[in-house]
Symmetry: C2
Subunit: 310 residues, 2 copies
């Protein structure tokens, strides 16, 4: 099996209370691939410009990620994002979004990318997500991300796209905005009614919650003493989550998805420890397994009956 | 054993996206007592005015809570708080805080209240908390709450008070403000260094995290489809948490405290389903046990080894 991801490859400029980077490798597909490649072969579909350097391509190829469908646009510049994080790191201000080669991007999938059994549609224009989803008819598990921008300006296309996938991974407030419901639970229940098998609500530094027809599974973020840069945490989470599902044969039972949440959470926790891709690039399998075990221990409690007063 | 709580008894006016109440029974000690009384006998210490009516006193006495030390100040008015919640219910604006009889409150404890083995110092002026803590020399488990106001205007007294208790229960952002640390984990570690046995970070609608010298335990909030009024959720959580510890004999091992978190979380989830004390007043022991079981199921995942690619 292999996992295809369609999304952005980017250079980011970020400032956090703990430092800054003027130009670091980023983009949703990059962060996703670095995480998902721990589980399965990843194929990246996305555009870069002439300025996308060999070192960046090498990072993208970590653990054998296939970059045949990374389209180099002659004369173009790579997507650029710049932002500043608030002191508590849970909100950020975007300073610049230069679409560059992304502006006229039309995903072109090779036969191999088209044949993947697992597909992740990172946050791009919903129409493009839908086109890719329809091209990948063989995919047995399709997950997607999106953002408030598309809810605001392309709600109809977004809804049409969501109705074709198995799993929506979105920030909790965006789930509420998308459905007009006041709680994440109500929003997720409505979205399951659209035909989704699973909805994952990302809650920033607080964790994530999984909703399926079967049950709810809530997992706090891994408690970190030091956080340096949250950029890419959501896509790293998605990479661990979707990658784990792919490694299990794309049969997304509630139990498998719950375990996938733990891998996504562990990977995301490493991602935020340093800037951009710095930490995950040198991450080891043992470190991931260790943090999943820690998460298991730190979230487990034993039930012991207590006599309650009536 | 019994549990003594010192704190406010109040009338609240609140407006949330789901309705409003002009004058409902509230106050930290009220919410705490309603929850803790499921586990043990509770003794409430706090002032009320002439306007505190019999119906309110009856609610306070639910499950045998002892109100001998509720001081009725002749000619005085009960503490009054008024606030409006934002659409996502996770932030609120205070419209009025009329201290009334609270302005000159000096806690007066009966011998019985003074002899409790478990003590909760709800959010009041730190000097008063300290005086009560020193009076209750026999207490084997003392927990306290506070708020950003006291960090701003009475930091030294607050720190002195914290150094005399076993457990601090505070919002995550207040823990960070108190210690000047950037993450909740770093803040909690510093506070454990002050001699606390446990620090509980409340994270609003996202849950709570427990820090002890032994380990960390993180628990998401119970996922609710409908939330009506968050007022008193934190004190209800504290009541369930501290009450459970009291029922276990005040031996606050990490494992006991983790289970206490589940009871606090279950109780708080009921509290927010209706306005003020409305839901918890008619809550049953079976409902609490059921939600603790649900929380256990919704947060559990099984570890299953997966071959990670190197």
């Amino acid at each position: 099996m292999s996992v295809t991801v369609v999304g952005s490859l980017a250079y980011d400029a970020v400032k956090t209370p703990f430092g800054s980077r003027d130009r670091m490798l980023g983009g949703a597909a990059t962060h996703f691939a670095l995480a998902a490649s721990f589980f399965d072969e990843v194929r990246v579909v996305g555009p870069v410009g002439d300025d996308f350097d060999d070192a960046s391509m090498e990072v993208l190829r970590t653990r054998g990620t296939v970059t045949d469908d990374v389209e180099r646009v002659a004369g173009g510049k790579t997507f650029f994002w710049s932002g500043v994080y608030a002191d508590n790191l849970n909100s950020r201000e975007t300073l610049a979004t230069d679409l560059n080669v992304f502006e006229h991007f039309e995903p072109k999938l090779s036969d191999a990318s088209r044949s993947s059994e697992v597909l992740f549609l990172a946050n791009i224009q919903p129409e493009l997500q839908l086109a890719v989803r329809e091209e990948c008819a063989a995919a047995r598990f399709v997950a997607m991300d999106s953002m408030n921008l598309w809810i605001d300006i392309a709600r109809e296309a977004l809804e049409r796209t969501i109705r074709t996938v198995d799993c929506l991974i979105l920030n909790d407030e965006e789930l509420e905005q998308l459905t007009g419901r006041a709680t994440t639970v109500a929003a997720a229940q409505e979205l399951l009614g659209w035909g989704l098998k699973a909805v994952v609500a990302k809650q920033g530094k607080y964790g994530a919650t999984l909703f399926t027809e079967e049950d709810v599974f809530a997992l706090p973020a891994y408690p970190l003493e030091h956080v340096v840069d949250p950029t890419g945490a959501g896509d790293t989470f998605a990479g661990g989550f979707v990658g784990y599902v792919a490694a299990q044969g794309a049969d997304a039972s509630h139990e498998v998805l719950a375990r996938a949440m733990a891998y996504g959470t562990a990977l995301a926790s490493y991602n935020v420890e340093e800037f951009g891709t710095e930490r995950v690039t040198r991450l080891t399998a043992d470190e991931i397994a260790g943090r999943v075990s820690d998460l298991h221990r730190m979230t487990a409690f034993t039930e012991a009956p207590v006599a309650l007063r009536g």
